[in-house]
Amino acid sequence: MLSDLTTGFIGRLRARDPQAWFELWETFGPILRSQLAKWGKGRIGVETVQDLSQETLAALADAIDRHDPDKGARFSTWLLAIAKHSLYGEFDRRMAQKRGAGRANVELNDELHGGEAAPDAPYEQAVFHAKVEAALRLVERESDFVDFSVYRLRVLDGRSGREVAESLGISEPTVSRRLARVRDAVRVRLLEVMIKYSFSDDEAREAERNGLQTNPNKADDALFDEAVAEIYHRQQVLRATDRAAAESP
């Protein structure tokens, strides 16, 4: 069953709310590009990958109206199916150009249930990491700059509390307080993001399975920070790959 958050978000997508589309693009664009580049290696260039990743989102606009939550597809699978559909569309177009024929339409749900778009583990991980990154970005935007700087230095850059305190000219207890404030915000936002981009209960519980307890006790703070930092760094690698692809011909 979809949560209100997910339903609301889908509603915004259906209403063609540019902000919602931008949010989706900003969060999952790099994954789509990476996946499309992987599939189309040697057959499509970087610019085509970028065009296709945009087309994927455009295709989402059509697919979202036909989305049937009862079929139980995961959000990640849904996204992947549409990306693959866009890629196939591109190949169809190329073939059609050669043959002078038209392009066959592929139904999203046919793709889903034909099993052609079965996502692999790295893809699932990438989608999950993108969700964590989206939560971090939200928190960064709404936090006090110094608060988030403390969090960035302490958690994402792995500095000690003392180093952070010296660097910013504040006391160590203040560092701890500010850190706790941002960490709490990350937990809240993470929960929201996970729910928003999840079509199944299993998907929504992904955070906890990956060491991100959204309702933890004090002892879990260090583990939570560690997990966020690890995901952040992995996401950096993915973005770097995306960049390298963008730079290659």
């Binding site: 931008f22 709404e142 950096q236 011909p249």
Partner: protein, 716 residues
């Protein structure tokens, strides 16, 4: 005894035998293990080799097939192109031509992989050719086009085209040109600089430019012209072009790559880091100038920044937008150097004047700084990690520049203030973020000029500056929002109370002084033109309103906000330091008036300037550069010719560039320029202002301190 001895021998023999067996077993085991490992390794090696060969063969087959596909597809496009050309359908022919080009490029890539890529991979030489397929097309793509436009070298009147440059993404062609003698005379005669080389950006519908591109560039042109970045422009039925000074040098991306090549993989060494800080500092000063002129560059990125003689120039004027524009915001810009928030706002359909364009340029500057530190662009936006060697305070500056809108620097000048702290430190790595002005709670340096520009006495020409740059901050403060004071939240209670008490105490002390000042200077005897400065600021004049200027008979009308900056002279300039104030008494001499006020001078300002000239002449100074008949007498006395005078003026203008007299670096350049001129020229009086709404500033630059002092006194 012999029995016991025998037994002992027997036992020892058995033990030795057992030990030998164990050792033998151990050795055999090790040998066997080694053998198994060896066999496994050989098997793995064979497997790897087979896979390697298979990958090679598969790659060759795959690319051969792809090559066939590209060739066949390309052949299919040829008749389509020919047919469309015959039917005079140029757009369609162009479309099929692009498709053909893409197919051919795909084919070339296949050939490259077949001939070099796969072979190198097979021979384990991949690192030798790594990136070659990217670098070569990149260089080819950036190569300039033909050296002459279709109309020949003299297509642009007054200019001789000598070559071309690779164009950017704006659809225009860039030509290198030199001024013909008549053009040089024309420009110098108008008192404008005439560089030896210029770049002509030309748009022609026949050469592939589109109407929207031309409209956009034309809109940006008026802004660029206001900044003095464009020498001339022309719009005809066939073509639109404009002329800019040529800036030799490499783009910042290339320079950054060189700095990193010099430093190594860990990041920039001290010297390259200093260079990067200098470039950023220049960039921010330029952006600040754009913003104060009410303009938003909108495409700040390394490839739009040229490094020439250690200084940077911001080029590509194609997207320059007035901050107060009523146009709808577009998503134009370059990914990774454009704030994603701008895209979001553009999707919402907001107008340009409804957003704070200054902050988007600041984001671009932060991304440029990031790219210099990391040698790559910030793919992660504001969350991008800085993994290479970088001072902590610089990391802070990058992050603050790329932070969310509400947390970002309010102006380029505010960012520059932070950067200069790092730049001026003996060891930038010892500067803590806590020591940066923005974190220490210093007010935004851009706020003061904004307030001045917003004052009612200031001419309306400055309105876009104040409105565009600072309206958001002002409205935020007006709405009761607290001024952002980074890092002060901790000691909010007691600290704020103590400050309040101190402030109240200071106000109580200052009030009587302020009243005394008011009564003394508003007394009838004081009148317009009275000096209102103190000993510390001796060159501040008061300007009456326009009506008062007409009726009052002052020795010289004075203008509110005119600020005489510290005069500088060559003999008081310590090597490598900022200019200093002179104090000694003076003789008379020959003075060049470098007047940057003419373009937008009002009557009161002209009257003030005429008075200034009269005062200088009354003090027995001969003036050059005033453009009036008295100059002829001066020329006769000094032996300078009119051409020499024009050349002097043009040289001085070119030296100070777009700066105003408050720019110490420009003053330094002017001093050096003066030193290199004919020794008969004793001083330069520079009149200017950063933009039409800002206070007029004067600066005396002289060879001798005595003379500088004398000129400054005469100007009082």
């Amino acid at each position: 005894m012999s029995g016991a001895g025998g037994l002992l021998v027997f036992l020892v023999s058995v033990a030795a035998g057992l030990l030998a067996l164990v050792l033998l077993g151990f050795l055999l085991w090790k040998l066997l293990k080694g053998l198994i490992w060896l066999i496994a390794a050989v098997a793995r090696g064979i497997g790897w080799f087979v896979r390697h060969i298979f990958a090679f063969v598969a790659g060759i087959i795959g690319d051969s097939l792809r090559l066939c596909g590209h060739v066949l597809t390309a052949m299919a496009f040829v008749p389509a192109i020919a047919l469309n050309i015959l039917l005079n359908r140029w757009s369609a022919a162009n479309h099929y031509g692009s498709a053909l080009e893409a197919e051919l490029m795909g084919g070339v890539n296949c050939i490259y992989r077949l001939a070099i890529g796969h072979v190198a991979k097979l021979l384990l030489l991949t690192p030798v050719v790594e990136g070659l397929e990217r670098r070569l097309p990149d260089v080819v793509a950036r190569a300039p086009g033909p050296d002459r436009p279709s109309g020949g070298a003299n297509t642009f009147e007054g200019w001789k085209v000598t070559g071309s440059l690779a164009g950017g993404g704006s659809g225009g062609k860039l030509w290198l040109a030199e001024p013909l003698p008549e053009k040089r005379r024309e420009l110098l005669g108008a008192g404008r600089p005439c560089p030896d080389k210029v770049v002509i950006k030309s748009f022609s519908l026949e050469e592939g430019s589109t109407l929207p591109q031309i409209v956009r560039e034309n809109r940006a042109l008026s802004a660029a012209r206001d900044l003095g970045l464009v020498l001339e422009h022309e719009l005809t039925a066939a073509r639109f072009h404009y002329v800019m000074p040529f800036v030799p040098g490499d783009d910042l991306g290339t320079v950054t790559a060189r700095l990193h090549a010099k430093s190594g993989p860990a990041g920039l060494d001290d010297e390259p880091l200093r260079a990067a800080l200098g470039y950023t500092s220049d960039l921010l000063a330029t952006l600040d100038r754009f913003h104060r002129a009410g303009l938003w560059h909108k495409d700040v990125k390394p490839s739009n920044i040229l490094v020439s003689d250690g200084r940077v120039q911001l080029v590509d004027l194609g997207l320059i937008t007035p901050l107060a524009s009523a146009m709808t915001l577009t998503t134009h810009g370059t990914e990774y150097f454009r704030d994603p928030e701008m895209v979001k706002l553009a999707l919402k359909g907001v107008k340009v004047h409804e957003v704070d364009g200054v902050k988007f340029d600041v984001y671009g500057a932060g991304a440029v700084l990031y790219s210099m530190v990391e040698n790559s662009f910030p793919v992660h936006g504001s969350l991008s990690q800085i993994s290479r060697r970088c001072p902590e305070a610089l990391r802070w500056i990058v992050r603050r520049a790329m932070a969310d809108m509400a947390n970002r620097y309010g102006s380029a000048r505010e960012m520059l203030a932070d950067l200069r702290v790092v730049q001026s430190a003996d060891d930038p790595f010892r500067v803590r973020p806590a020591e940066l002005p923005s974190l220490a709670g210093a007010p935004d340096p851009a706020a003061a000029p904004a307030a001045a520009a917003a004052a009612p006495a200031v001419a309306g020409a400055a309105a876009p500056v104040a409105a565009g740059t600072h309206a958001n901050e002002s409205s935020r403060l007006a709405a009761g929002a607290p001024r952002r004071r980074w890092g002060r939240g901790v000691s909010f209670g007691v600290g704020r109370l103590a400050k309040g008490v101190m402030l109240a105490f200071a106000v109580m002390l200052l009030l009587p002084v302020a009243f005394a000042w008011f009564f003394v200077f508003s007394a009838p005897g004081a009148g317009p033109g009275a000096r209102v400065g103190s000993a510390a600021r001796p060159f501040v004049y008061e300007m009456p309103d326009a009506a008062a200027v007409e009726s009052a008979p002052p020795p010289r009308p004075v203008r509110e906000g005119v600020e005489s900056l510290q005069p500088v002279s060559l003999d008081h300039r310590p090597p490598g330091s900022s200019p200093v104030l002179h104090t000694a008494p003076p003789p008379a001499g020959l003075v060049l008036l470098l007047d940057d006020l003419s373009a937008a001078a009002d009557e009161t300002l002209l009257a003030w300037r005429a008075g200034l000239q009269d005062d200088l002449r009354a003090a027995h100074f001969a003036l050059l550069g005033c453009g009036d008949p008295q100059d002829d007498a001066t020329l006769a006395v000094t032996g300078f010719t009119a051409d020499m005078e024009i050349a002097l003026l043009a040289g001085a203008r070119a030296t100070v560039g777009l700066s105003d007299p408050s720019d110490d670096e420009a003053v330094g350049r002017l001093l050096e320029w003066l030193e290199a001129q004919d020794e008969r020229l004793d001083a330069v009086v520079w009149l200017g202002r950063s933009d039409p709404g800002q206070p007029v500033r004067t600066r005396v630059v002289a060879r001798k301190a005595e003379l500088a002092s004398s000129v400054a006194r005469a100007m009082e």
